[in-house]
């Protein structure tokens, strides 16, 4: 959009922009050379204008210089808005007192006489504003103004805005010379404004670019899930100067949810549950794939309703851009400003958040894919270990056990037979332990079956007991223990384990769960036996739970030989 010679770098500006500026000014000033003082003033003005590179500061400066150059009481610069209405979006003025400004209230938007120069961008001089056919008259509290000079400010061939001067000091009208020098000033101002604008835009672009790079770097680190989304929203809000930023995402347009919010203290999970996304701008953006801008978000009937969400501010303009990755659009990033901060919205070119969002979405996808891959690799690895244990370790142990048993038949020596049988029992126990490990390896952490639950409870108890209880499963426990039995069984196991760890002073605890015609849970320890003061209600509950299911609970306790809880219920 810009030519190479006006690249918005500081050196570029001083090399070429400023030369152009001077040449232009000298051409324009030709007609007022007789007025040496004004000429010098203009030149000074041009130099200081070029030095001040913030756009707002520059506009204020131009207006102030204009009053001095043309000898006017008041001056203003109206900046044209975009869009078909072509009205003023900014009005920078000079000469009025703060009290006057306050009394007038709203700034003009470019109707009446001010609109005349907008529609027909030519210099215009008037003796008395009020007598012009286009004049609307002044609002209440406005100081009297009669003489008028208006000049368009162009950037290249585009009208940027208009300089308005009123009330020639000392009475009388603005002269031909006044007009010429203001036209010259307007030309200089156009160049300076363009430079300032390009510089600001370049700075913003650079900020977006560095934010984009930063987010890619951040997401390729260990950040995951909603942290990553939060980082995207935070960064986008920071760069855009938006008051609020949020991300809406989901598997498809029908399953969208608010995921993160930046800039307000919102209870996101609660808000996400409250808001219906059936009607939302996010849906529209995901459907069409195109970014959306709206002027009045809080009043927009297409936006989701935020009335129910505590802490959600009243919002004016907003930009909603798609989060698009290689598999489609999975969400949107929204940036919104309060009506008071509309200027921040105007300064943002929607293209920049769009490309930021695109990069962020790709980075999110890569991060997600990497996370999945790692998890998958882990599961595959576990599967492989489990398979090896099955195919190699258990097979071998089993075969060794079988041959030991056969060996036992070859002898009549009872001592040898006993020894061999003990060895076979040990091998069987080892096989069961291996199976238990395989089960633990293979079951996803959140598996809901009874075997996984019991294993988890026993593992937790191991933490408080300082030793690991032994755990055995016998029979198809996952098949035979129904969901009616499971909650009671787990409650009983919990109670028995807690008794063993609190009162028994045990050094070993054995847990066995057998599924056959009956479901039998045995929890036995080698501790002190039940103390007289034992929690009798705990034992009673275990019994009640068994009886309710048509079973029984047997608690045997021998002082200093341990306690054994045997809880039995029918399998079906």
């Amino acid at each position: 959009m810009q030519e190479p010679d006006v690249r918005p770098t500081v050196t570029g500006l001083s090399d070429t922009g400023f030369d152009d500026l001077l040449r232009e000014v000298l051409n324009r000033v030709h007609g007022v050379l007789d007025d040496q003082a004004r000429w010098r003033l203009l030149l000074d003005a041009v130099v200081t204008m070029a030095a001040d590179l913030s756009l707002d500061g520059l506009l204020a400066r131009i207006v102030e210089i204009a009053t001095r150059l043309a000898g006017a009481e008041y001056a203003a610069l109206g900046v044209l808005g975009v869009g078909p209405e072509r009205r003023l979006r900014t009005f920078v003025h000079h000469g009025m007192t703060p009290v006057q400004v306050h009394e007038i209230g709203d700034l003009p938007t470019g109707h009446g006489l001010l609109g005349l120069i907008i529609d027909r961008p030519q210099p215009l001089r008037l003796h008395d504003i009020a007598q012009h056919a286009e004049s609307y008259g002044f609002p209440a509290g406005h100081p009297p103004m009669s003489s008028f000079l208006g000049v368009p400010v162009r950037i290249r061939d585009q009208v940027f805005g208009n300089l308005y001067l009123t009330e020639k000091i000392g009475g009388g009208d603005f002269t031909e010379q006044d007009q010429d020098i203001v036209v010259a000033l307007a030309a200089a101002a156009g160049v300076a404004i363009e430079n300032a604008r390009l510089l600001e835009e370049a700075a913003r672009r650079e900020k977006w670019l560095s934010a984009t790079a930063e987010i890619t770097g951040l997401l390729s680190g260990s950040t995951s899930g909603s942290d990553a989304l939060q980082a995207v929203a935070d960064r986008a809000r920071e760069i855009s100067g938006a008051d609020l930023a949020w991300v809406v995402a989901g598997d498809d347009a029908d399953h969208l949810a608010l995921r993160v919010v930046s800039g307000a203290d919102i209870d996101v999970p609660h808000a996400a549950a409250t808001i219906s996304m059936d009607r939302s701008l996010a849906r529209d953006v995901i459907r069409t794939g195109a970014a959306l801008t709206v002027e009045q978000l809080s009043q927009d009937p297409r936006a989701f309703s935020t009335a129910e969400i505590p802490g959600w501010p009243e919002l004016g303009p907003a930009i909603i851009v798609p989060l698009r990755n290689s598999s489609g659009i999975e969400g949107v990033l929204a940036l919104a400003w309060t009506p008071q901060h509309i200027a921040g919205y105007i300064a943002v070119d929607a293209v920049l958040p769009s490309s930021f969002a695109e990069q962020a979405a790709l980075a999110l996808q890569v991060a997600q894919a990497r996370e999945n891959q790692q998890r998958l690799a882990l599961f595959e690895d576990r599967d492989r270990i489990g398979r090896d244990l099955h195919d190699l370790v258990i097979q071998r142990l089993f075969a060794i056990g079988l041959s030991l048993q056969s060996t036992a038949r070859l002898t009549d020596e009872p001592a040898v037979v006993d020894r061999l049988n003990t060895a076979v029992d040990d091998i069987d126990a080892t096989i069961k332990d291996v199976r238990r490990s395989i089960f633990a390896l293979g079951s996803p952490g959140d598996a809901a079956d009874i075997q996984a639950e019991v294993t988890r409870m026993v593992d937790r108890a191991a933490g408080t007991m300082k030793f690991r209880p032994s755990l055995r499963f016998e029979g198809p426990v996952r098949t035979l223990i129904s969901s009616t039995v499971a909650p009671d069984l787990l409650a009983v196991l919990g109670e028995a384990l807690s008794n063993a760890s609190r009162h028994a002073h045990a050094s070993a605890v054995r847990v066995e769960l057998t599924a056959g015609a009956d479901i039998v849970l045995v929890v036995a320890d080698d501790g002190a036996g039940l103390p007289a003061t034992v929690n009798e209600s705990g034992l009673r509950y275990m019994r009640q739970r068994a009886e309710r299911l048509g079973g029984r609970c047997l608690v045997t306790s021998t002082p200093s030989a341990g306690t054994r809880v045997e809880w039995t219920v029918p399998a079906s």
Partner: protein, 222 residues
């Protein structure tokens, strides 16, 4: 333990075929069984294909089949053999736990299962009982397994992949039908039934939880 049950009424020795890809396991089982005197191992193999060919020819009373084999599964072997000769009783030998062994046995149409542990199950007693025509599978438990498959725990996503036809066939498997009997009931070619069972076994592959893991991964971040 060896005199708890009588030998088959005929008085002839019980003929057993062994299918396991580990020679050391076959040897151990053979020694154990033949030590009884009234049981003979009439054949052995380490490969599914070979066993499928040889078992119907040897006509053993009992075929002991390892669930996992390098070239296939003992479940397929069992279904194939019993479709040809329903009088051959089969036991699925597995190193997995009871739940998965039970499921494998039902899928295979076997008379029972044997876990690979020495004292845990009474191998000889089990062989004698199935040779005498008994099933070690409790019909009520079989029903429960099928119920678990149909409405089962949501953690196993593989179940949702079954088609209506596969579910019907699963039901008939649960009733102990061979492929040939199922083919007759559903008016399908036996080959078609066989393909259905194979694809179902693949879908319900209980030996690998990777599928579940992938499923879990997909849905963890929503």
């Amino acid at each position: 333990m060896s005199d708890q049950l009588a030998v088959p009424p005929t008085g002839e020795p019980i003929r057993v075929f062994l299918l396991d890809d580990h020679e050391i396991v076959r040897r151990g089982i053979r020694e154990l069984l033949e030590g009884e005197g009234d049981i003979v191992v009439v054949g052995e193999s380490g490969l599914a294909e070979e066993a499928t060919r040889r078992i119907p020819a040897l006509r053993p009373h009992v075929a002991i089949l390892d669930g996992r084999l390098p070239d296939g599964s003992g479940i397929d072997v069992c279904r194939e053999v019993r479709s040809q000769d329903p009088s051959i009783a089969a036991l699925i030998l597995t190193s997995y736990d009871d739940d998965e062994a039970l499921f494998s046995a039902i899928m295979a149409g076997a008379a029972g299962y044997i876990l690979k542990q020495v004292h845990g199950n009474d191998l000889i007693n089990t062989v004698r009982r199935v040779a005498a025509g008994q099933s070690m599978l409790d019909p009520a438990v079989t029903t429960q397994v099928l119920e678990r498959l149909r409405s089962g725990p949501k953690v196993d996503p593989s179940l949702q992949q079954l088609t209506a036809q596969e579910l019907r066939i699963l039901e008939l498997i649960g009733e102990g039908m061979t492929n040939r009997q199922i083919a007759g009931t559903l008016f399908l070619a036996e080959k078609t039934v066989k393909n259905y069972v194979s694809s179902m076994l693949a879908k319900l592959n209980l030996e690998s939880r990777t599928q579940a893991a992938i499923f879990a991964t997909k849905h963890l971040n929503d």
